[in-house]
Symmetry: D2
Subunit: 224 residues, 4 copies
């Protein structure tokens, strides 16, 4: 079993709670309240900024030039592509760049992003990559799974654009490369003691990323 | 007005929500559910470990030897004194060292401590000190205020030990020195643009520290 | 006077020693021993890798999204453009990629790059930018000045390619933007106490960058 | 063979150059020029400040509370004991605290300390401990070896105080504990790929620490 598979197996309860969260179910069948999605979109913008910082940290932390280039291309993908896509997606939901920039950060966004950044600064590149994995790889798995459902792919589903973006080949490849890089680093650096610590970090990061869905979900409950 | 007074004035709504939180009121009149306090105690143990890391970071960040010594004495106060006091206090509430060490970290604890650590790593020593201030100085203010209330000081109040610890001269001096050090750093390094950024960090840290009370408070609601 | 002009004025002795080092004089009139240049080229390759790490750190440290994008474009310029140019330049001097990758790092390269990285990690983005400035802006000034000399521009000067690269509009603009960004950050964050500390860092970084020329220069003396 | 023994074996050439440097020989037989020793003493003061920062970083990096306490006690030993001893030793050589504080940092001091700090920030606690080892353990080995020589222990040897300090049980125990801690971390975290990287860091740190002796040594040559 690959290292990433082992992480998921050890954290199977957390992984299921994350990938099958009501927010995801609501994206799939289109029943997610719009307020929930809008709140998520705004916080996800702030999240992307911190994720770019985490990728920059990965460049700084890299032991080899190839690791640096891999992380730098991820950084540039976030800053030059993903954030623009996100701003466009937000515009479609009536959210202006100003709305995004001036939004007060939610605790759930702060908790997950700062946990990743601190875990990465404290440990080495492998630790940072493990803390990033629930989001990077998880989004790809979630979207790929949703894309197999006919209701999710229906043109009437307002969340289809989001699903399409992360189910698309471009993002799926990003996630595949991230997994492969993680497995490669694990081949080089994992010992049993290390693996136990990394599993704990992976579980925590998965829980905090689940809280991110929960944050969006609760914003929907409040209003409707 | 000193720099710290300016921070509090700008963040007066956040500061009030923090220092007058129902959890604090419950400590004062003894009505706080024991479950709430116990949950707080456990998470506060995990919090102290991260706070020690933040003080270590302050040593690393210090531009001058005097700043280093100040931070190192804070670090040693946490690891050599405060944590032992805390373990003793916890024992009185039926919590063993094992209970403390094996407790799963609450999101609120992760959010506040990682926010402080990341803000401090990203910025300089002044930024780190601002992010630490709500807790370091806030606890002293809260306890000093509670210590003026006769119900809080009553021997029947189960939370008197906690109030006494932070209202005691030892801790009050720690907080007074921390304030003075912060004001000193601000004298050296604050510009208007910087002050605006530091106010934002102070507000955020105060909000996240308020969430910490809220976490304890909610643990009490769940049970009783 | 702009902030960068103030730095240069305060560090005028160091700046002159740096920009008028015998290594530079030898580049200008073509008398620099080839061994000196080759040694410099190899170490400059290792230097660029660390400079990429420093730019990544600048992304991580940035308080604003615009600062992040500025630093990320610098990072990508180093990894995607400058390093390839450098490898090509080295090939022209008989140095293979393997020669570059396997070269043992010189103390002077380690001293300057690690000083910059540590100063930047300890302080904030402005500190990091000040520590980077002697190299980023200095190379542009040196090359622009050399490009006004007819002997330097002569086709017989073997070092003309190096001069042309850094005197070219592309690099001059990089340096102009870096200066402007530095002045902008200084407008926001400089106080008199801060300026004194930054001058000390700028002087140190300039001295360590001068040692880099000296390292190359001495490699030439050893052989011829 | 323990991990530290393996490091020394792999770096045996560097280790010998470090522990048998002419500066050391001069300390042993008392022939080291006083100027050399004074220059070393001044730079060693600046070095200790950076070493305290490195120990603080070790606290921040620690994965376990026991690692934190170990590093914090090292930090406190440097700031509260070793630096005072050093100031006293310097006074005996006519160097005032002011002389120490105002000394311009030598490149060799900057190179070694910043290399350690950056290696430690980039990697994890084990990497930091490996980078610190040549100094922490090396001083103990050097002094223990010198203390077996009758000329070194003679009351006429002006450098006997230095030898006595590091050959004393107090310091020998510090080094023994540091070695044991390093071996413990290696048991937990070393893989073959990791060991290759750590050997490279250990060699580099040993070379840069050797440059520190060389710096003192050359100061002696310049004058006498």
């Amino acid at each position: 079993m690959s290292f990433f598979e082992r992480l998921k197996t050890e954290a199977s309860a957390e992984w299921r709670a994350y990938t099958e969260h009501p927010f995801i179910v609501g994206l799939a069948d289109g029943t997610l309240p719009e307020t929930a999605f809008r709140h998520y979109l705004v916080q996800d913008y702030l999240f992307l900024i911190e994720f770019a910082r985490a990728y920059a940290l990965a460049v700084y932390k890299s032991p080899q030039l190839t690791d640096m280039r891999e992380a730098a291309s991820g950084l540039s993908a976030i800053l030059d592509v993903e954030m623009n896509l996100h701003v466009k997606l937000c515009a479609g939901w009536g959210l202006s760049p100003r709305d995004l920039e001036q939004a007060p950060p939610a605790s759930e966004m702060l908790a997950y992003t700062r946990y990743v950044l601190d875990a990465g600064m404290r440990g080495d590149l492998l630790t940072l990559r493990v803390a990033l994995a629930p989001c990077v790889v998880g989004y790809a798995e979630i979207a790929a799974q949703l894309a197999t459902r006919s209701d999710a792919r229906a043109t009437t589903n307002p969340y289809r654009v989001w699903i399409d973006e992360y189910a698309a080949a471009t993002y799926q490849e990003v996630a595949t490369k991230a997994r492969a890089h993680l497995d490669h680093l694990a081949d080089l650096y994992v010992t049993p003691a290390r693996e136990a610590e990394l599993i704990a970090i992976f579980k925590e990061a998965t829980r905090l990323d689940t809280d991110f869905w929960e944050m969006g979900w609760r914003a929907g409950l409040r209003v409707e």
